[in-house]
Subunit: 582 residues, 2 copies
């Protein structure tokens, strides 16, 4: 062992001990007659002192050449520090070094290894192994491990069994694009990497495994948006002999447990909301309910005058911004510009200032009188001093726009406190959603989701109205989990495939094994999957997942550190029976 | 919830309770006036009774139509059984059913869902979801989960951090064949699936992560021998600031912990043996030391007579088979046939019977006298009543042949007790091994393994004699783990690549990121990886891993249940910029 203690361990009670430490040189201060070195390892920082009076001369001389990030092993005595540092746990002591070895030298790192580094994203990714030495990244990875352990121990105690499902599976055109793997032994054929272990976990239920989970990598070959990764980690769960209520209860338990254990937050209220209600109230199926600003639908109180913009709109809807009446004209113009950005896409915004004296001043005073505006204030819940922002247009679009504005304003008003946690179940999702591109219905969740029995009759007449036994777990405006009760009989599954545009032959070729399995005694079952990268980030109080992943890929799906993907040689291609077609 | 209790839960203390159970019909016995059904779930079997006297008539009628593996939900009362079954925990009670639902019907399963099934391997794999309902498979998967949890909790307590490393990495021609993944976004380029997280765990050490582990899937595109899988699971570990001794101590601790917790076995002695000693004593680098039959090298006592076969041999070596003197001529001839099988490849076998009266009878009495044979007996440790089996030839071949014979005889003699556990460290492996096919040296472990400093001078003169800081953990004749202290400086790594036949350009192209990393302050480090599938199987007392894997592939790398790999459509190929080349 290269050390007797870690660099985070020694305290005043260790004074006079002879110890050996190993670690990295964080920084040196050379006063000529005295040199201090901050030695760092995973566990902390300990100050070393080289002192002309008390340290052998040649050791002091050697110490003068230490550079940042040199790896050294030192032996010495724990002594009391003259000027104590209250900010670090080892701040009462320092090590009077008697000898040391340089275990490895280091080039000057391309960015500073400090909590606040001078390195940009690109260079940090290229030298990720140096980035990981920084506390924010190192602590994020250790935090991730803690969360994973807590999840595993909780679910194991609840009798869940972690079962490893295969990574080399079969490609299915449904859903996102698969990554595929050419098979050398089966010429011309390909495996696919799983987008999720969905069918395997269902087969485990058919196999009687009853309560399954797995923390598992999944793969999607999508064009990457910011903060998406081609490989990501899921907490994948499934249970048999359960109804929706059972699943919600179990995973409410897991969520409470994690928030209690990790954040010491007790969740008093774990509300549920239908998809329809979430869309109506927040314009969004993953509302952040840590703050109000609920939607007020204004059609009945805004379409009775000569204002054509509103009269032509499918939906007129507003929110009350707390304290917004004090915004200047310029600030409001900026808000209007914000909603008109292409990313939001509103054509304009009507506003009403709710003055402290009870009067209203709006951008549409030409059309609406004080009584109208008072009705708007009532519908949006605006008080004196608030600003009402009103958007109008096609129902789905205007909801999305106002939801974006609501989130933006909450951010600006500091209402999205990362240390406050408000989970929410959104239930009764639609079974199908219309896809403009392909002009047909797609499964909103996936094709194995069961429709609500009372809605099955609508499958032919009003497919978009059929509700599914599907639910999302939302935390602070992020979808952290989603799942459903599954279909467990062959007939319903065939009906579903039919409505999704599969021919019976296609359904059999791709999912025949699952439909066969349903004929051999499949129990009722359902499950949920959590996006683990996101869950960890949110629990860690962050919005971006990248620092919670040891070796993330960039937006082109590249690992810039190892420089992958890369070319492979002809020999390899030939063995795989493929050639490039560029 | 479809049940108030599981089928393994109810006891005599529950009598008179109203309960609901769900599960599968294991079997039915219909006596006309009374029907018994064994209801099974993951937790056990509970007997149901339908009784004309006490059960509604229509319920009894419906029960008559229950087939094997139907999924049902029953409600009834716990009553005392008339004829108790001491063999199952629920054997004192049965359920007097008042009503039940058929949750799903089942076709007759293609094999019996019993501990001893009538289904062959192929059909069980095709219907793996039915196979998993059988106790031997179900229990193996649950056992695997328990072992994984114990590993994780032990290592976490020892301050190891589980870090997820990427699955989409870069192909390297060193080692086994990679599975590759064409990148759509990076035209003409490929990811590779990891054969192990080797370089990433080393980079984590450079990153200061200090103690890393991961239970992780790895991939090798090899021609599959029996009991090998293209995807397999590893417990992958790495530590910084350690020497070989530290690693052995830590993972000795893990092994002791697992054997104690899982098998209630205390390991008194955890021996270590050099590779050279293992080869000399057992002809094998993973000796099963649960039994003796150590090799006796006979050159000095067998090459002084006119027996040309021995005189021409590089090595003459024998083992003493306990009690083997009583084998008949026919039995011995069969043994000789066994060693001459192509899989073993010996040309013949000399034997010596050590008679109870102290005399010897051998197949080479023409050449050797009683004194010679007495010396052989002494060298092989043979006692009166034993049989000495002697092989001769080229040293490596003859050791492998005698090792195979030793294992076979131990199996026949019942010396390989699956409930006895004898771990062993084999240390000081050679750094390089000669490859006949490519006519050059390969890394025996991998190119990142450090040579013993005192042997580096031999790299040019006698590369085959250079020993590495490499070690294997052997359990009952199986290699369950292997690792090494790594190279951690750029110069030694470059030297190693050079000796492995890499040009500096090739080394840079493939492992430049690692050699760069070594320049920024890499600490001394080393690690180990355990084959988790094999470890679990051995702890479970089995020799084959297949039942410890939920969805294994067959020897052609196929998943016969989902029928993968499979063809993919032209559209997909085109997007990936590849075409088939059959």
């Amino acid at each position: 062992m290269y050390r007797s203690h870690s660099c985070g361990e020694l305290r005043a009670t260790d004074i006079n001990k002879e110890i050996t430490l190993s670690g990295w040189v964080q920084k040196t201060r050379d006063k000529g007659f005295m040199i201090w070195v901050d030695l760092r390892d995973r566990y902390g920082i300990t100050q070393l002192i080289f002192d002309e009076q008390r340290t052998p001369k040649e050791v002091v001389e050697k110490a003068k050449n230490l550079g940042r990030e040199f790896v050294i092993q030192v032996t010495g005595t724990v002594i009391e520090r003259e000027s104590k540092n209250k900010n670090i746990p080892t701040g009462e002591i320092e090590i009077l070094v008697s000898e040391f070895n340089i275990l490895n030298e280091a080039l000057v790192p391309p960015f500073t290894i400090e909590d606040e580094t001078d390195g940009g994203e690109d260079i940090r990714m290229k030298y990720r192994y140096l980035d990981i030495r920084r506390n924010p990244v190192k602590n994020s990875l250790m935090f991730r491990h803690q969360v994973a352990m807590k999840v595993r121990n909780y679910l194991s105690k609840e009798d869940f069994v972690e079962v490893e499902t295969p990574y080399l599976i079969k490609s299915t055109p449904e859903g996102a694009r698969d990554f595929v793997v050419p098979s050398r032994m089966n010429e011309g054929q390909f495996y696919a990497l799983p987008q999720s272990p969905q069918t395997f976990k269902q087969l485990l239920m058919v196999g009687g495994m009853d309560k399954y989970f797995q923390i598992v990598k999944c793969f999607r070959d999508e064009d990457l948006r910011a903060d998406r990764q081609p490989e990501f980690t899921q907490i994948d769960c499934e249970m048999a002999f359960v109804e929706q209520e059972d699943i919600l209860t179990i995973f409410e338990g897991l969520t409470r447990h994690l928030l209690k254990e990790i954040k010491n937050v007790e969740i008093a209220d774990f509300p549920r909301m239908t998809y329809a209600e979430a869309m109506k109230t927040y314009g969004n199926d993953k509302p952040d309910i840590r703050f109000g600003m609920k939607f007020g639908e204004l059609n009945s109180v805004a379409q009775h005058k000569d204002f054509k913009v509103f009269n032509d709109a499918e939906l007129v809807v507003g929110i009350a911004v707390p304290g917004g009446a004090s915004y200047t004209r310029k600030e409001i113009d900026k808000l209007i510009d914000w909603v008109r950005r292409p990313q939001v896409g509103a054509l304009g915004m009507v506003y009403v200032k709710c003055n402290e004296d009870g009067t209203f001043k709006s951008s549409v005073d030409k059309f609406y009188d004080q009584e109208d505006l008072a009705n708007w204030a009532k519908t949006t819940g605006a008080n004196a001093g608030d600003l009402i922002c009103v958007l109008s247009g096609q129902i789905n679009k205007v909801r999305a726009q106002l939801s974006a504005l609501r989130m933006e304003l909450a951010e600006r008003l500091g209402l999205r406190n990362p240390e406050e946690f408000a989970p929410l179940w959104v239930v009764d999702f639609p079974l199908l959603e219309w896809d403009e591109d392909t002009e047909r219905y797609h499964a909103m969740h996936h094709p194995f989701t069961s429709p609500k029995p009372e809605d099955i009759a609508l499958l032919d007449s009003k497919p978009g109205d059929v509700r599914a036994n599907a639910y999302d777990l939302v935390l602070n405006g992020n979808e952290i989990g989603g799942g459903s009760i599954r279909i467990h009989d062959k007939e319903t599954q065939a009906l579903m495939f039919d409505h999704l545009g599969f021919t019976p032959e296609e359904a059999k070729a791709q999912f025949g094994f699952l439909m066969d399995a349903f004929q051999y005694g499949a129990p009722p079952h359902g499950g949920i999957a959590f996006g683990f990268d996101r869950l960890v980030a949110i629990l860690g109080g962050q919005e971006t997942i990248r620092d919670y992943i040891a070796f993330p890929k960039n937006n082109s799906g590249r690992d810039v550190m190892i420089d992958a993907p890369a070319n492979i040689d002809q020999e390899q291609l030939k063995e795989l029976n493929i050639k490039l077609d560029l």
